[in-house]
Symmetry: C3
Subunit: 659 residues, 3 copies
């Protein structure tokens, strides 16, 4: 295979978006060509939802329309990220293969009329997906416009049908080896759930009370593996005909149906989609969170922001708009952290269909609009940053992230519904982002030696290997913060006995958690150092650790809440509650100081984001983003790639990329 880098092929950073010309006609295509040039678009994602056009009836392909568009783009200097359209089978597929439609846990078989109406385990679906991927690769594998293969879209749909049940059983046999092992792992001796033949084993369908947590966890794992296998099948079918890199766009954070670490390992380029869920500074922090996660998933390899919205913030049941300048700030928030460019969903806002209100680069109101003017400015800015291609980002701190832990916290019957894995992850990142520090994410079993500080939030499930790895990390000089409700269960979702977290980690932390005590909704509990805990508390026994803050009332009075243990050449900290926002921020700053971690640029006031990209040849660029409402003088005047001039100050909302 050739290079996995997009920038090498494009000769600069990628800029563009999903392009669905089949929704429009000739005059619009002509305008598209003009506007794309004006906006400096150099990469367009095509075909994501085109199955019905590409294969209008089973086995008959129609590529002529796509040929024309790709050639037109190519002539216009725009490369193509070509998708396999398998995220949305056409209606004819539904009628021909009703058994390939997904079934809910309640037994409702969904039908077409939306998207993602398929079951990945249905043989008819899988072979149809392979066939069309192969046909596309055969036709376009060597097209000079082709820069990237984009398999499917936002994998994550699961199903509870009988195909799924059969595939689940196959997976379980492979994982557990025997029914006895499965019964042991799932604890089926409780509630009389013991299985005596494989065909008794089902997906976790609608049942009377809580589901079996082991079954539910394994169903998550099974689906993750199934999704990865489905991706790999398409990837391999493509590779048989094409040497261009292959990816699928990950959906962070809403989709938790796939182990992103495992899927990312199969991607030539890691790509992902970012849609913040609250406006303002939160949205900028979310962009950084998303970029840091994606870069970490890429593990040093290339990665790319595949989708963002020009004006799309999903605030629960409504879609908020982005303010002026936010498109650039979010884009630079990604590029600063290593993205090879920035793409949008989508080029032109659909005039009909389910996503007609999703923002786009060219809105319904046309190019004579604030949005398109900003898009053009951002395109210009990205074009000026070509020299950043190939440079990397270094993070002194890691936050641990694990799919098993996430799934484990989504089980029925937990003591508290407020143990949100995603919230804990985002909160740890946010505190570090506020402190001006760049962050990696890592799995508990990863080599962590290069990090000065490691934070483990909500690592409810922790493998034996992970616990031992963390112990060793501390022993060898690392500073580790483990947060509440971590290490409660092992890989099989069995409770750790004798106190949590898992043994090796108890040793490193010098504590033993004896009892947990969920808090009531909105309850806050005072600690001896004046801070407050929420959501959760624990009765902790110090076994070597020093107590930095203790609980002051209720059954916990006197129990440590925050501890530090000097172990080997490092420090193991344990925080047994969810500190309130400012208290948590203060703790993280204290830990950064203990671990000798400096912000990327010193002396920046709060609200100014700074990240440094390092080229292999020693060059460095500082990306600065001013989220404040006042103008800042530059630490020292420097050449700004965005303007091509020396920057002396950073206006409110302004950005600079200093060489």
């Amino acid at each position: 295979m050739t290079t996995r880098s997009i920038t090498d092929r494009l000769g600069g950073l990628a800029f563009g978006g999903d392009y669905n010309p089949e929704q429009w006609d000739e005059p619009v295509w002509k305008e598209d060509d003009t506007l794309m040039r004006r906006a400096r678009v150099n990469l367009a994602t095509m075909g994501v939802f085109s199955w019905a056009l590409l294969e209008p009836e089973e086995g008959r392909y129609d590529f002529a329309w796509l040929d024309a568009h790709i050639d037109r783009l190519h002539a216009n200097g725009v490369a193509v990220d070509l998708a396999t359209p398998t995220a949305s089978p056409p209606p004819w597929f539904t009628l021909a293969h009703p058994d390939a439609l997904p079934v809910t846990p309640q037994g409702t078989r969904l039908t077409h009329g939306s998207r993602d109406t398929y079951c990945l385990t249905a043989p008819a679906y899988r072979s149809a997906a392979r066939r069309i991927a192969s046909a596309l690769a055969e036709r376009y594998g060597d097209h000079p416009a082709l820069a990237l293969w984009h398999v499917h879209n936002e994998y994550g749909t699961i199903c509870h049908c009988d195909h799924s049940a059969a595939a689940f059983r196959v997976w379980l046999r492979a994982r557990h080896g025997s029914l006895d092992a499965l019964n042991e792992a799932w604890g089926t001796v409780f509630w009389s759930q013991r299985y005596t033949s494989w065909e008794q084993v089902l997906p976790p369908r609608a049942t009377q009370w809580h589901k079996n947590p082991g079954q539910a966890l394994d169903f998550h794992r099974f689906w993750s593996d199934e999704i990865i296998a489905a991706y790999c099948e398409q990837r391999d079918a493509i590779r048989a005909h094409s040497d261009r890199p292959v990816t699928t766009n990950l959906m962070l954070p809403a989709y938790q149906n796939v182990d992103l670490w495992a899927l990312a390992r199969e991607l030539d380029v890691v790509t992902s989609d970012q849609y913040p869920s609250s406006p303002g500074l939160d949205a900028a922090a979310d962009a950084a969170f998303h970029a840091d996660r994606t870069r970490s998933l890429a593990g040093g390899g290339p990665w790319l922001l595949m989708e963002q919205g020009t004006s799309t913030i999903y605030d629960g049941d409504r879609v908020l708009a982005k303010e002026p300048g936010e498109i650039l700030r979010h884009t630079l928030g990604h590029i600063a952290r290593g993205s090879e460019g920035a793409l949008f969903f989508q080029w032109r806002q659909s005039r009909a269909g389910a996503e007609m209100w999703h923002s786009a680069m060219v809105p319904h109101a046309g190019p004579d609009t604030r949005i398109f003017r900003e898009v053009t400015q951002v395109g210009e800015a990205v074009a000026r940053l070509g020299q950043l291609a190939g440079s990397t980002v270094a993070a002194p701190v890691a936050v641990l992230h694990d799919a098993d832990a996430w799934w484990a916290l989504s089980m029925d019957g937990l003591p508290s519904p407020d143990l949100s894995y995603h919230e804990a992850l985002a909160r740890a990142h946010r505190a570090l982002w506020d402190a001006g520090v760049t962050v990696d994410f890592a799995q508990p079993e990863h080599e962590l030696g290069r990090y000065r500080l490691v934070i483990a939030p909500a690592l409810f499930l922790m493998s034996d290997a992970g616990a031992e790895n963390l112990r060793r990390y501390v022993e060898r000089g690392g500073t580790l913060l483990v947060q509440h409700a971590s290490g409660f269960v092992d890989e099989r979702l069995h409770a750790r006995l004798g106190g949590s977290p898992a043994g090796p980690l108890r040793e490193a932390l010098g504590i033993r958690v004896e009892e947990y005590r969920p808090l009531r909704r909105k309850e806050r509990i005072a600690l001896s150092d004046g801070s407050y805990g929420t959501v959760w508390s624990e009765s902790v026994r110090a076994e070597g650790a020093e107590t930095l803050a203790a609980y002051t009332h209720s059954m916990l009075a006197g129990s440590p809440a925050l501890t530090r243990h000097r172990y080997g050449t490092g420090q193991g900290w344990y925080l047994s509650t969810r500190l309130e926002g400012t208290d948590y921020g203060a703790l993280v700053r204290r830990l950064l100081k203990e671990a000798d971690v400096e912000p990327e640029l010193p002396d920046l006031p709060p609200g100014v984001e700074a990240v440094t990209r390092h080229a292999p040849d020693g060059r460095r660029w500082h990306v600065l983003i001013n989220h404040r409402t006042d103008t800042l003088p530059m630490p020292e005047p420097a050449h700004d790639l965005l303007t091509g001039a020396v920057a002396h100050e950073l206006p409110p909302g302004g950005c600079a990329v200093l060489a």
Copy 2:
């Protein structure tokens, strides 16, 4: 056909209610006769839920019991509004025709044990409905007691079964002509939804993500047409045997499954049911809103309040009581606006069954109660108003109302869930009611020349013809207020390109909406004139209009919020946000002044409702309702029909009908 007027036949205004003697026995019937005379009842609705009694087994009819009751009523001076019982098929029907039971989008087939358990598209249901309507008409078509035919009850039930799917396809063929046209209209090119044969097209059943909005809108339209067709079939079956007027009782506002304008056109007399959803002044405003809507639907023809409760206010999950005097005030609120009388659901409160807690004219506690005493007083009052029969009401202002616009705002995936069509409609009406002005409702395509002021709230979907009609209205001297989120889509639910609203209207308003910006829940946004917007905001470019108020912060700073455009000989106003209550009231009063609209009676304080009925011979009656807690002197002493004496003052809660 003979006269459509009820009052002609009754010799006065109608007073009475649903009468279900089959729930009681002989002694109660005797008491009913006495009490009806005492309450001046002259019209009783019978048979609404009597299918099981009328046709105890398929094809065998039993009319004897009904004969006896109708004869008894007739002898007692009470006319009959005879219902076809098709809103509730008997259990034997369910067992004989399980395919005629309704199916939810999730595929659950409902069963009997409630009411409305049928699918209108099921052939077995339709023919059974026609047969019993015909049999009733044959038997009672000439009965001297018969004043009105009451087809079905509160049409509105829809279904997602296979019969429904088949009928939907027939309807779609007729509407779109070809699959290509359907694909174009629904934008199926997005999400790979392109249909290649008709049998692939389904109702919007349970699916994975958002439904296709074009499909959902057409499904609403299809069901509306189907409901109207079902009504017409029964009406025509009746007309073959009877010359009495035919109606069905509309349910406003909760039911939005039928285009009320279209259904009302098929009714000889428009009748409707009113149940307010909050107490006090809100309930009185709701009565006025309901009456104005029903009169407008009748388009100058006769109309009648078919159902109200003596003590029923549906406040979400509970049923509040009406306070003393409210029955009369709500009744006069309707009669003032043109109703040919006032009926109740129901005469005698059921002692068992699902609606046993629904209030009635004779409550569980019997006639020696406040409620029955008030009913008697109201019956007396209505009897004194006979001379109002045939007089009409004139409204100087219209609020636009359109079924397509309502349905369009109920789609999946809108930018905000707070764009409530019904709320916007009620709010515009309420501001005008508070200002003492009588209001018509009209469709955007109606001739509007007779109105001095037209308000278009939430006209999200606007047809080309509607936009042009509104432009012309302004050009010819009208004053038009268009509110936010109007004219965003055309008849096919396709976004208006180049900015909204639709082109002709942009010309009349002198603005172009470039971008929308939904607000967060409870967010309020300041305008330059000191008022505040909520729910929604827009980036507006003035293209000829003058800016009366502008946004003051965020991306909208400087954008017009409220504009006025002098166009032709009229004025086009545009309001791009939802003003807070008092600010909106002030705007509406300003517009009334601009448009030279005076309240019905001058110098009345807030909380006094006044409407004038005009007889063809020039006589006029002012209906006054005092919702205040203080006594008002009459503007000038006048003869009050309610007391038969000269009224000098209006006590708190009091009413007067001045000749």
Copy 3:
């Protein structure tokens, strides 16, 4: 049959819990033996969820493992409460008898993977349950360790399948005799629901609007009878082989699918499970409420707290912990009220499975924990109270409790959703508990002459016999408080006509309720005596009663809110609204004074619980529980069974049992 008392067999009060050794292995069993001795455990419940182990395939039983555990326990001095495992059929049963799985009203057939996945009306399930109960009884019926039979677990699961429909019809034929009677009872003449053949009658499955309330009520009654029949079948199968007492553990209060009065009559020992839903003093009050209810259900016979949690408080969506000392206080709260001991779910916290987070006597963290230390202390305390065995409790006050009334208040379509039966019951009990008075529960038809005061909260449905019984109770000198919304319907759920409550009671109360007026959410309504009502109000006419407080505004102004009627030699009080907390407490204290009811011990400050147990030989023990945060001097120093010494004071949270 031999004695029904557990204490006779154990030679003292019972202490222990559910014991599931099959989840563990040999070393743990050995530790269990040691720890049980340390904790003074003398009774272990076994086999509740062991069907899959006991009958690994249909008809083949494996008792060897259970033999070994029972023998081990026996050798260790622990008696056995042996369960039939029928609450959780094994997966093989599901595959063999899919028709025995439960079906929801929406038609979803649930599957295994949880517990309680069976339909009690399925013949296959019923015979399988009988068989295994019989097999267990045959094998263990005479085992010297066997102290009690524990049929099933927390009966309450219902189903809407076709077996259920068939059984429902059989039950309905027996109850109503004829279809005509059923039609009359259910009021099917409304909404055209008249049944003309039995096969038309269905369970209340998913339908379009409100369900028929008569059908829904009878479905509750049917299921209650079916549950009791299922219990009796197992009990009788056991009795054929064993002379030990038989029980099933009732679940109060969450489960309302069975008439507890009727089921309790079939139990040799009444046992029940208690899990509070809020912490602190509320949890203690809940323990008292639960104990008083269970004792009342036992009707003078033996009863036992079968399950409590060492640290389990179900606070909505989370599980709170118990504070130090609460295990003892809740345990004594039960024993004080007559329980023959205190058991827990469960001995050792499961390390896997759906209830792995449910607290236990030996928590995950092991015996070196606060929880196990407290368990040991509680075991010691219970062991010291052996002499209380056989003593009884006397209550001067009764609160009425009726399954029909509860079910009637769970119907669709009631005027207010805030008429919570359970809340009304608990509230009346709490006011009496706060006043230091011990409470019985009774059915309205019970002989009430021994009570000085009877309170009837929310007795929405009241039988003719109940109303007459209450009238007679007052006439003969009793003091009765009837609360709002009582006596609105009769046994058939038909409204009482002419005003509520039912006639005889109106006579005793000297009032007539003419109209009800639900209040809005959070609305409070002022009464003339300065108190406030919430939730509900009524228009009441005094017909002999004196008005103690009246409403002061709205349509109710002047209507009595609280009345007293001297009737015969007693007093009938009526309260037509839900008084706010402190106002209600004051009313209850006033009534206690009127009725000459003294607290169990005089002069105790609020927050000190005291109950007296009376031995047949005249001995008395006062159980004192100090819920306050300060230390109290004893009224007079006395011997404390818990310490074996003379108690002079009661520390915060402390308990004493004074001889």
